[in-house]
């Protein structure tokens, strides 16, 4: 669906963001794009959508150069930004303004999403809180039925029940011919939704693996102490004990802890390289 090949990008000669970066995004997945502040997550999303142009290398969506910003590409990609922008109109007016631009826009789904998020379509954007406007933007993004949904920090500004509703709605729309890319720091909010993890750090992709692949190689567990635990490759102390990661030698099923995985990847990139043969 999306292919970045040998991509180089810098904002200035001194500030290189990506060097020879390659990445393939496939359908049927919900990707979690993780990275520290300033790692280049938003820049990567902008390169994927043609908002930024690479200095060299290519960025294509369905084999279309994103730099062209062609209609065919724009009809299939929806980019929900962290700081959303919506015109100062009523929700129903916004729908009249933009829905026709998307050939498969699902008006019923939009209505249902608004209902789930308890948004009145006759409300003016101006009178809404940031969270409410985000809910409108999320509803619209899901209803466009675009094959690629790119969301930058989608749960920022959402209240606790809305985060659950968002997960439910996002899981509903995913199919084999569609993918969602979620760039986030709020890994706990989206842990149950993400099925593939991409970790970005210092111009490189340290990890690009499915949750299944990760859980086949690693076990995530809580230990009361680290004494006699020789196989622990990473741990973090918490009041509940040690959150530890060990190699999965005996095909044990465990629930992934994305925060621990991310911290481990950032601190031991070579170990991750060895474990996942990157």
């Amino acid at each position: 669906m999306i292919e970045l090949k040998n991509l180089n990008f810098a904002y200035s000669k001194r500030k290189t963001i990506f060097e020879n970066l390659s990445l393939t995004i496939e359908g049927g997945h919900i990707y979690g794009l993780l990275g520290k502040n300033g790692a280049g997550k938003t820049t990567l999303l902008k390169l994927m959508t043609g908002m930024r142009f690479p200095q060299s290398g290519t960025s294509t969506v369905f084999d279309i150069d994103t730099k062209k910003r062609s209609v065919k590409m724009l009809e299939e990609v929806y980019f929900l930004q962290e700081e959303i922008w919506l015109p100062d109109v009523r929700v129903d007016v916004y729908l009249k303004m933009y829905a026709n631009s998307y050939p498969r826009f699902d008006h019923e789904l939009f209505k249902r999403c608004l209902k789930e998020f308890e948004i009145n379509p006759l409300d003016k954007m101006k009178s809404m809180s940031f969270g409410q406007r985000k809910k409108v933007a999320i509803s619209f993004a899901l209803a466009t039925q675009c094959k690629i949904l790119i969301m930058d920090e989608p749960t920022n500004g959402l209240d606790i029940p809305s985060k659950g509703q968002f997960r439910k709605l996002a899981a509903e729309v995913i199919g084999d011919d569609r993918c969602i890319i979620l760039s986030t720091h709020q890994v706990r909010d989206l842990e149950s939704l993400i099925d593939t993890v991409i970790v970005l750090e210092e111009s490189r992709i340290l990890m690009n693996n499915t949750i299944d692949e990760i859980c086949k190689r690693l076990v995530f567990k809580t230990l009361p102490s680290l004494e006699n635990q020789t196989d622990v490759i990473y741990s973090e102390f918490t009041p509940r004990g040690y959150l530890a990661v060990t190699p999965n030698m005996n095909e044990i099923d465990s629930k992934i802890d994305l925060e621990i995985l991310f911290n481990m990847t950032i601190q031991n990139p070579n170990l991750i390289k060895q474990l996942f043969n990157h």
Binding site: K46, T49, G50, M51, R52, F53, R69, S70, V71, L74, E75, V77, Y78, F79, Q81, E83, I84, W85, L86, P87, V89, V93, K96, M97, Y98, N100, S101, Y102
Partner: protein, 257 residues
């Protein structure tokens, strides 16, 4: 491939975003118009009626405002991304913005003002028993005014797309700087072709003008070379709006967010 459906969708977006603002401005200006008419009929003085130049000045301001407003989405990163990500080609988006900020605004304002003027004059003449003339300007004058307004509009439309921050003031500043540069070049050319003396010696220009009793530039019999140059300048000056509109399109197409 240019799609008229997407183009009309883009035009609809611009219109729906600006309709309320335009309606308020048109209501205010119509009320002002009625007030001027009332004053004119009340005092029986036609000179109280605002001149055609005044209305053209107002229209110029409105077209500049709309040119800046139609691309105000580009002032912020979030709205820029929203704009670029909307499914339509840059050609369709630009054509809609261009049409809105040029012909559409001009026709809308001229139509509304003309209608209010006609109604006010008709009612004024009927109620007071006077027979003041309608005084509609000739079509040729409106057409010339349209060209002049488009000239200014094209510069500000380019400014709106080219500058990321404060497009109005940056456009004004650029025009002042360009004016100074063109003025200096013109002075150098005059020296080269006509005076053949030291550059920017204004006293020479004064004496030359005085001695030949030149009333205007048209009275000067220009050398053949300068005559050709004048033709070239005329072509360049005439094509400036088109150059600005085309440049704005390419700037919009290649702009990164």
């Amino acid at each position: 491939m240019f799609s008229f459906k997407r183009f009309s969708e883009q035009f609809k977006i611009i219109w729906m975003q600006n309709a309320q603002k335009q309606a308020i401005i048109l209501i205010i200006i119509s009320l002002l118009y009625v007030f001027f008419h009332f004053k004119m009929f009340n005092e029986g003085r036609v000179e109280l009626y605002p001149t055609f130049s005044f209305w053209m000045g107002f229209l110029t301001v409105m077209l500049i405002m709309n040119s800046l407003s139609v691309f105000s989405v580009l002032l912020h990163q979030n709205s820029s991304i929203h704009y670029y990500m909307t499914p339509a080609s840059i050609g369709e988006k630009y054509a809609a913005a261009w049409l809105y900020s040029t012909i559409f605004t001009f026709v809308l304002y001229v139509t509304v003002i003309s209608f209010v003027h006609w109604v006010s004059m008709y009612l004024g003449n009927t109620i007071t028993g006077r027979s003041l003339p309608m005084g509609f300007p000739k079509l040729a004058i409106i057409r010339e005014a349209f060209y002049n307004i488009m000239y200014v509009q094209s510069l500000f439309l380019l400014g709106a797309v080219a500058f990321r921050k404060n497009p109005f003031w940056k456009t004004v500043l650029t025009l002042i700087l360009l004016g100074i540069i063109i003025g200096l070049i013109s002075a150098a050319l005059i020296r080269w072709y006509i005076l053949g003396s030291d550059a920017f010696n204004t006293s020479d220009i004064t004496s030359y003008t005085w001695n030949l009793n030149v009333q205007s530039m048209d009275d000067l019999s220009l050398p053949r070379a300068l005559g050709n140059f004048k033709t070239l300048i005329t072509i360049v000056v005439t094509s400036i709006p088109f150059i600005c509109w085309i440049a704005a399109y390419f700037r919009l197409k290649t702009r990164e967010v």
